[in-house]
Every structure is written in C-alpha cells, then in structure tokens.
Symmetry: D3
C-alpha cells in the first residue's frame, strides 16, 4: 500500500456566518471572519489516495490524471468563487474549513477507482491553519 | 547602508472591476477575477526600510516596532476586509495588486523616520504572483 | 472526525547536555550541540486537535482560540528563552526535541475540551528535523 | 513513542518507460514523462523513525547519525544519477516515485536498530506530488 | 514604475559537459554534474516585468497573460526535456543555469510590449542555488 | 553580468545587549531579546556574487565551490555557536542581524576572485525578518 498526494490550489471569498443568529451573535462568535462584505483566502488543497502500485506503470494512480480530476471536479467550482454564494455542493452549509474539507471528500470519493481509494483531504486556509478529513 | 525587511500578512476579498465598463467588458478583460460575488487571497506583505545601523543598538530600525507599525497602520485596515468596499485609503481605485502596493507605500512612507527610509513594498497576491514598488 | 492544526513558532536557546556525564562524554555524544555557551533555533510548533465539527459553527475548535491557548500556555513560556534554564515545565529534563514535544503535550492536553481532544504535537527544530508525539 | 523525521534531498534524471511496451504505448500512458532523452527532478526525501526516547540522551535516534545513514546509504547512490541506468537497487524496476519510495524503504529498514524502527518514507517528486510508504 | 513577477516551473534533465574537453577533464571540473547518463532538476522560473500600471486595469501587465506567454514560449520547450539534446534555443551552449537564464531572457524579451519591459529572469536550479539576469 | 546566489544555514544563540547600558536599559530597548540567558535562531544565509559567465564552464562561479567557501569560512565559525561569546570576527560588536551581515561581508569579500565579486549578503533571522547588505 502506497499513498500518493497531489497538491492543487484555489482562491475564494467567504464569510463565517450562521443564518440562525443575529449579526451581533455572528460577530461575537466569528469576529472579523463574519465581516458581511466578505474576506478571502488562497486555499491549498492536498488530496491523498492509497493503493498498490500497478505492475505495468508503477503508479497507484496517474498523478497527472489525479490533478485533472481535482481541477475539473473541485478547483473549477471553487476558484475565484464566493464559497457562500457560488458553489452548489456547499449550499446550506456553514463555510468553515472543516465543512469545506468534508464537502470536497464527498465530491471526490465516488469518482476514484477501487484500486486508488481516497485517503485524506487536507486543506490549508492560511499557511498556519489547516484541517484534515479521512472520511469517517 | 543596510536593508531590513519585515514580512506580515492579511486575508482579504476583492474583485477586479472597472466601473466605467459594462459587466461584459469587465469579464472580458478580468476573466474570473471580475466575479461580482468576489474572491479573495492570503496576501503576504514585505516592507523594506534602509539606513545605517544605529551605533547603540546595531539596528537600522527595531524589527518589532516595524512589525507593530505595519500591523496598526496597514494590516488592521486590510485584514478580513473587502478591498473594494471597506478600505478608506483604497477608495476610488482599481483593486489590482499593483495599485494596492502603491497605496500601502503612500500610507507607510510618511510614518518612517529619516534614518530608516522606506525602500520597497513587495506584495504577494498568490505564491506565484507578486509586485514590487520602490516609490518612483 | 476532522483534524484541525494550528502552527505557532518560538525562538530559543538550548544545549544538549547530560549532567550525569563529564564534559568530554557530552561532547562525544552530542557533538557541537553540547557547546557550553549554548546555541539556538527557530522552532515551528504544529498542534493538532480532533473532533466532530460543531453544528452551529462548523468548527472542531475555534482556530483563533487555539492560537491564543498555544501562545499563552506554551509560546510565552518558551519564546526568547533558554530551554535549559528558564522553563519551569522542562526542569530536570534533557533538552531534546523529543522531550520538548512530550512536555508541550503534557501542558496542553488537560486544557482542551472533550470535543476537541489533542491529537499530535509536531515540532520542527530545523527545517530538516522534526518530531511528532501522539500522547502514547 | 515519538516519531523523528529527517529531510534529505537529491537530484536525478529518469524516464517512465515500460520495456514490455512499444514507444507509442509508453508515450500514450506516460506522456512527456516517457521522453527517451530523460527528464529530472529535485527529490525531497523524508525518513521517519519511531521509538521511545533514550533516558540518557532524550533521543529516539541521533538526528545527525540518521542524516549520515540516509546520505551514505541512499543519497550517495541517487544524487546526480540516472535512476533508470545508474542505481543497482532499482535495477529491473519501473521508475515511478511509488517504486522508488518502496526501494528506499527496503534499503534503510534493515539498517535501523530495534529501538528506532523505520516508520515512513515520504518522497517528493515535485513540490506538488509526493508519495508515502509505511512498509506494508 | 511597478515590478510584476510571475513564477512558473519545469522539470528537465541535463549534464554539465564541455565538448572541447576529455571525459576526465569534464569530471574534474564539473564533478558529479558531468555524469554522462544525465541528472535533472525541478527548475523554478521567476519572470519580472516593469512598467506603469494601466489606468483602466491597474495592471503593469495581465499576470494571467504573462503566465500564458511564459508557458507557451518557454515552459513548453523545456518541461520534461533534456536541456542538452531537446531544446533548439540552447543548441551549442554549455548547460549552466547562468546560460539558461540568459537564453530565456533572449526568448522572452522581444515578445513583451513597450509598456511592460522585461526586468529580470531569476532561475532556481535547486532550492539553494539560483541565478538572476537583468539583460546586461 | 549574471548574479549567482547560494543559500546556507546555521543555528546559533545570541542576545541583544549593549554593555554600556544597565540591565534595565537593555531590557527597555531590546525587550525579550535581551534575556541574559540567551535565545537563538536558525539563520538562513544567502550569498550573491556577480560576474560574466566563463566561456569554458558557463559559470560565474562554481556553486559547489561557493558553498564550500561559505561553509568553511563562515558557517563553521557560527553554527552551534554563541554569537556574543564564541566568534572572533564578531568580538566587540552588538549582535544585531544588521551587524552580523556586515561582518560576514567583511569575511567573504576578500576571498572572492575578481571575476565573481561579492554583491549581497542576505541574512534571515526568522522566516519573517531579514537584512541585506551590498557592501556600501
């Protein structure tokens, strides 16, 4: 079993905001992250798949194809977007990095073949804050 | 003459948008950067001052004080903000990284002492794109 | 279950030195790290907590609060300090990065809530050497 | 149990090429990586060992000795080499990063003492692609 | 005047080898870099242009277009190639990083408009070695 | 004219302390950097030389030789040392990063050949603070 990781990135706007709360409650909990005019990040996304290297290629999965899969299924839907307003697969969810990582997992997991199963979504919000989700 | 550089960072939303143009013209020129719902970045800001090290401290300028100056005068006004809507010193300007660097220069330059003059504002929009402004 | 990691840093002096050994024995085992006049490092500290994201915030733990906890309980006691002389919670211990990571775990673990348990202390001594401790 | 990681690096040429296939088949599967005139990478290698810190040193393993072991047993055989032509321990294998990580594990694992067992070989082919192998 | 920099990268094989010298002389001067079976690198390329930001866009030059120019004119000709064998614009030249930077300058300089003149080619051979060329 | 830069690093202890001042004055000016028990850093040192590439090698200067020069003349004297106590060429100087960069320039400048003159000493004290000295 070998783990293969591919890094991609996207830039997006968002705010942390719970629609069940007042503006004051949101500001009290989320601080400047609740700014109603939005803020944004350069997100770094690491996708890890695991499997046994193929006998004919030496690959768990073709890293070039993995990059294309991530870009067409995830990056194209998130890059230069507003995560609260523009992304169908995030609709109705709080825009935390935790929830974003889980949502990316749910998008990618069904698209990977049995011999290269999804192992981890690692998502940097800033160079000093990141989350990891392993599917359970 | 020694050059001292201090790095700080901020996260912000913006869009590239010329109000003299139609939505279509803006999209044609700025592409996804014109998304009317905004996008955002983790900006890295490098401020360089130059001078002769002080005889009693060995400092061109106290790096701790330089950090505080940048944070109170620049970062506090940009971090978790919308650059098009929330920042008085950017009002009426196109929100390119070039213009942002020039605007930061204009804010900081008058605040530095004669023996530690501002030399360069270097601003990363993404890890792969940055601008530098030397005041002329 | 989602894992949230926050990076902080501190600068400190130390030496590797076993008081049960002679100066020669220490130099033989620890080499230049035993320099009696000390040396030092810029340490990077990554603290990982794990839990289920809260329904109302989307957070495993507020990353801002995690940063404040790390800074007040760990960084303030280590930054610009001599690890062999100035730190109560390291007293009587050999100053290896391994031992330092375990000691940081012991300080932080009791301070975290049940829904965001400590998962890993990762500590870089240099950009090329780091240790990880998972509490067992 | 503490995990200690040491980073080393090497520069090498290789191509992805399955000798059982025609030139066209290789190009179809491996794309530009099959260039018969080779291409190359700056590989970053992270070796992680695990164990209980020694009572007299505080070390799982002396990081300096770990570096020397990696350099003499691995780096000296890979650095400035052609991975397909010059490396005895890669002979007859497809030159994927996955296979290279497994081969490095097989070289290093028998050389480590019982109290600092090999835990992971992590190998960056580019800053955006890496693999990990845990020995099983 | 503002300076805009765009980073791109490529992976390539090469060797340092002066055809006027014997194999022994080459090995004596270039050491392992003269390995006749080649070695390779992940090159990082930084291209800096300078100019006055355009009144209607705020751009010195569109960073997206600059990236496309670098990729089509430079990266496509160097990536996954052998610098000694596969690159028309390097023919007959010694494959040092210095010469490569000058050759990239000569390719790009005529393609840039008068209002965004080429200022610097900065080329990393490894994370610890880079060269800069300013056109004179 | 091409500029060649080589990065090296060292770890050292120091304190900021002016012997003409009282302990209180030192603490007032230098804050925690004046800790009498020392603190330390992982310093990154970038040395830039400039010249015309040699016709027979394509080199401004052999990067390998430049690395050896920096290591034997600078790194060996600073690494795992106390900058205030252990370094002959820093004796009697305040231990600021500015002064350290100037002192390194003075050590290296006479050792470089006429065709590869020293251009810049760039010294990182932390990942967020660095100084540059160009010899005048």
């Amino acid at each position: 079993m070998v783990y293969l990781t591919r890094k991609e990135h996207f830039n997006a706007a968002h705010k942390l905001f719970n629609p069940k709360w007042s503006k004051e409650e949101n500001e009290s909990v989320f601080g400047p992250c609740a700014n109603e005019n939005w803020h944004g990040h350069n997100y770094d996304l690491y996708v890890t798949v695991k499997g046994v290297p193929d006998e004919n290629t030496g690959f768990v999965y073709d890293a070039k194809k993995l990059g294309e899969l991530i870009r067409t299924k995830i990056i194209d839907k998130l890059d230069h977007k507003n995560l609260n307003l523009d992304v169908a697969f995030l609709e109705g969810q709080l825009c935390s990095t935790e929830n974003l990582a889980i949502a990316i997992w749910k998008q990618l997991q069904p698209l990977l073949p049995a011999n290269a199963t999804l192992h981890c979504i690692k998502l940097y919000e800033t160079p000093r804050i990141y989350v990891e989700y392993f599917g359970e």
